[in-house]
Symmetry: C2
Subunit: 364 residues, 2 copies
């Protein structure tokens, strides 16, 4: 995606200094665009924990690059780094996927130098594959938008949270079909859920759609059901942090409510699922996917721009406690279909295994 | 309800000066408790429009007091005042109800003085009846909380927006059963939906529950479905701005999403309905209840406390538009029951008419 007219990814190795990985500090968007360096795996882990980077695919890519930074160190810290990175956030399965892949690629290296080279190659491959996979998601998903536009004049797509360029290395998952539709001149408009408490929709999705020139409107998380009742949403496309082999989808808190509303109003509800976010080991998403609980301070206050500075304001009475689950699980029965890099399928074990038969025996 | 230990209503005639009606400027809560005077009907209309006062019953009471202020004027401005007040906000039916009642009571007055006395008596009666009705809602609803507490140890009640003391003259509608449960020593805990964009839950409901010593936890609007999936909500109780004779319920935007989640998880979903908020003239809530659309600035920014001052921060990119419907309609099929001042009934014309047979012939 272009930022201020220039192509930009969300994570990259510094062109001149192979000791530095660069990321965008997404906590400052949409108000400030600041690139920060990662020099150690601990800085990578902290970037994930503090949500300078977020989004399941980008969290995975950041873990892979952090393991590369670990492999550069003179002492052998890779195992510590893997454990430390794995502990940063519990819900997105891409973290485990990227760490396991990187460790496997490093395992048979003959020397520390070779191990480092392999870690770098793996991180680069994960990033390139992410972009390629997302382009495929776009190609498979754009037909849904094209069909809706043919019917309604303009395809009105509702999305929750940010499963865009900023949640991945580039292109995005849920946004990929939208960007492709825009390129192809298909009329598309996106309803952007604010996505409290961290406002990734209002802050990140709105910003990146604006950068890409995609028509969009921000709404509060409460509004989507009403819009669907009034026929103002043609389809929903969201991302996922972990999808069970049954098609149960863990995604940002509130996704489940939108899926219920879509189901109640006959609005197709699709999930963009790169295979890196499928957890082939589990079937029951509601019982088996760990849901991160974050601090109540994300609920009791919020950051925004006041004058020239990013300012936090307190929203609740100071003595009112808050509870902050970060994800929820949408049962497969509410999902119209999954958009994967190998095509569309039903949200079911059968549907997924038709596209990914190599995982038939992975269930735990 | 007590504020800082002293009983307080949300609207009252000044004890010493019958030319002044006093209200709480609710836009400043929970950060500041400020009482402001209304001296003209225009100030009353502006208080409703600017949401210094809000909540269907309190909007009705404020309209009645504003008509009293109009009736005090030397020129005959009552008809103008009625039209001006009616135009302030479209969704809550209590506004129409209070205005029509006050006009009817004034209609046969023999003199300007008598008309003014009648307007005052009507406003006083509307306020006293509101409190009495809300106490009845509490008595009829507390059994639901008692039953949940007997089953779960603590009754976990989820509510949306503010249908509390602050939305009425006193006691509240949806909160009335909770306050009564607290008085009776029944263990109760309230999940308070933040209720973006205006955060009446996080700002008002949390504050008044805190004042009353009711255990509560603030959550973002996205979280309720997840909590219901996990069995952490025993029942929902919300208010209403207008309920059709069919039982379709207009309430704050996002109510519909919670009703869907409650239905999907077998959680009872009740609406506290003082009869003043029933629109007996309409049947189809989705088609016939006008939904207010408010400014996008309520979505793109938010106010909160920063240091010592109430500060607005911008949340969205400055060039991203926002859309802001203020209410939605929950179809009667998703509502377990209505709590009225005459008892509980099903959300249906049959259920309502069994309690209110005098309205059998009101349908338009």
């Amino acid at each position: 995606v272009d930022v201020a007219g220039r192509p930009c990814r969300t994570i990259w190795l510094d062109e001149d200094d192979a000791a530095i990985v660069r990321i965008i500090d997404q906590r400052l968007l949409p108000h400030r665009f600041v690139v920060v360096p990662l020099r150690t795996w601990q800085e990578g882990a902290e970037a994930i924990r503090s949500m300078q980077v977020r989004g399941a695919p980008l969290v995975g890519a950041t873990a892979a690059w952090s393991l590369y930074l670990a492999a550069r160190e003179p002492r052998d810290v890779v195992a510590d780094a893997a454990a430390g990175l794995q502990a940063t956030r519990p819900t997105a399965v891409n973290l485990r996927w990227a760490i396991e892949r990187s460790l496997a690629d490093m395992a048979s290296a003959g020397s520390a130098r070779e191990r480092c080279a392999r870690a770098r190659a793996t991180a680069e491959a994960i990033c390139e594959e992410d972009v390629a996979v997302n382009r495929k998601l776009g190609e498979h998903g754009v037909a849904l938008i094209e069909r809706a536009a043919a019917k309604s004049g303009v395809a009105n797509v509702l999305t929750h949270c940010n499963a865009g360029w900023l949640a991945t290395v580039d292109v995005g998952t849920a946004t990929a079909p939208t960007y492709l539709a825009r390129q192809r001149g298909i009329p598309v408009h996106v309803w952007v859920d604010e996505t409290r408490p961290r406002n990734q929709g209002a802050a990140l999705t709105a910003w990146e759609l604006g950068q890409a020139g995609v028509a969009h409107t921000v709404i509060v998380d409460n509004a989507g059901g009403h819009l669907m009742q009034r026929g103002r949403v043609d389809l929903c496309i969201v991302g996922t942090d972990r999808t069970a082999r049954s098609g149960d989808v863990a995604n940002k808190i509130g996704t489940y409510l939108k899926a219920l509303a879509a189901h109640d109003n006959g609005v197709p509800f699709y999930v963009a699922v790169p295979s890196s976010s499928i957890d082939w080991r589990i079937r029951d998403g509601l019982r088996e996917i760990p849901i991160e609980e974050r601090g109540g301070d994300e609920v009791s206050g919020i950051e925004g721009m006041h004058g020239d500075s990013v300012t936090r304001v307190q929203l609740t009475p100071s003595d009112s406690p808050a509870h902050n689950p970060a994800f929820d699980v949408t049962p497969a029965r509410l999902v119209t279909g999954l958009i994967t890099e190998r095509g569309l399928c039903s949200a079911s074990e059968k549907g997924l295994l038709e596209l990914f038969p190599e995982h038939a025996r992975d269930a735990g």
